[in-house]
């Protein structure tokens, strides 16, 4: 019997990664790392980073689930924010080069790892939890299937930060404009039939910056790895704010 193990055909690509080590570097720089990837099999960008890390062991990035669930590996891949673990190389690569940088606008802790504090501070402001005023019922707070359906496209957010860090309004005012991710969550609770703090939530958003800095550019929509639409959520809130004034 002829049992040769097929050897994988490989091709080399250049990974150009953003490097910064706070202990060593004064400035960030780009480093080219050559890696070998299989010709007839597609990898994800995260796999390519793992391959690169075998050569450059100090290369740092966050990752956990590897399948688009935990939201820890958001980064800027050839100019577009996305999760490295669910972005196929074949889609991302331009020519033979893959350029990977951290998510824009946030302080870099090291290499591809950014400090998400500003992002989570904004999320905290929208009180992303159910607020109720009535006494808690014996069992659960009931919701009809129709009411539940209103939360589709909202609850799926994994807080990866891809949207907010692709939003020009968030770049300029990360402390005053809440950003698409936090606003999507705000709408998620305003739209929830069980939540009883709608008025207070709207009051909190009713200033020149928190929500109204959104110019409907839809960068957020174009990058969301879960296919969610923060712009729509923002305009739903805006409609509520306007109708309330009438």
């Amino acid at each position: 019997m002829n049992s040769t193990i097929p050897t994988e055909e490989l091709r080399s690509i250049t990974l150009s990664v953003y490097r910064f080590d706070p202990g060593k570097d004064k400035k960030a720089y780009m480093q080219d790392i050559e890696i070998e990837v299989p010709v007839n099999k597609d990898l994800m960008v995260l796999d390519a980073l793992v391959l690169a890390k075998k050569q450059e062991t100090s290369l740092s990035f966050r990752r956990s689930c590897g399948e688009g669930v935990c939201g820890s590996d958001g980064m800027n891949i050839n100019g577009k924010n996305g999760l490295a673990c669910v972005t196929p190389l074949s889609e991302a690569i331009k020519g033979e080069k893959l350029v990977v940088k951290p998510m824009p606008g946030l302080p870099v802790v090291r290499d591809l790892i950014v400090d998400m504090k500003q992002f989570f501070d904004q999320l905290e402001k929208v009180k992303p939890y159910l607020i109720t005023k009535d006494e808690a019922p014996e069992q659960e707070r009931k919701q009809s299937p129709e009411e539940r359906e209103k939360l589709d496209g909202l609850y799926e957010c994994i807080l990866c930060g891809c949207c907010s860090t692709a939003c020009p309004s968030f770049w300029w005012n990360p402390d005053k404009f809440l950003g698409p991710a936090a606003l999507l969550q705000s709408w998620r609770f305003i739209a929830d039939s069980r939540d009883q703090a709608t008025e207070e939530r709207l009051d909190d958003l009713d200033d020149a910056f928190s929500l109204y800095r959104c110019h409907g550019i839809m960068n957020c929509v174009s990058v969301c790895p879960k296919g969610l639409n923060p712009t729509e959520a923002i305009s739903n809130i805006r409609k509520k704010l306007i109708n309330r004034k009438k």
Binding site: G79, K80, P104, V108, A166, H215, G216, M218, N219
Partner: protein, 129 residues
């Protein structure tokens, strides 16, 4: 406390993808600002044209002979066309929720950009050729 402020922030506008809607939005702002500046000149022109018949004719003369004035006037018209078209798009999507998903939004943006470009070309031909 660790030093925090020497941490770099990555933000290279030229290397980050900006879909058509974003580009339109930025051009909308730029054209708005340019209009504001040119408006000052336009008010001066209006003032001149209204002061007397003679001045009005002089202004017409200037418009035909001074290239710079012509260019400014041309930019003014192009700016108005662009700014109002994209402005109308924004109003439509704010009030009626049209073009709020990425595909229809991009589609509408493309249409408006192409229309503006065509009008600009037509005006260019009318003005300079």
């Amino acid at each position: 406390m660790k030093e925090k402020d020497n941490r770099p922030v990555y933000l290279n506008l030229l290397a980050i993808d900006l879909p058509i809607i974003g580009i339109s939005s930025i051009l909308h702002r730029v054209s708005g600002f340019a209009l504001f500046l040119i408006f000052i000149i336009a008010v001066w022109m209006l003032d001149r044209s209204l002061s007397s018949e003679e001045e009005f004719l002089n202004l017409l003369e200037d418009l035909n002979s001074l290239v710079l004035l012509k260019v400014i006037f041309y930019l003014f018209l192009v700016g108005i066309v662009y700014h109002s078209l994209i402005g109308v798009k924004k109003i439509i999507s704010d009030f009626f929720g049209i073009g709020e998903d990425l595909r229809s939004g991009s589609f509408i943006s493309w249409i408006y950009n192409v229309i503006s470009l065509l009008v600009s070309i037509l005006l260019f031909i009318k003005f300079f050729i």
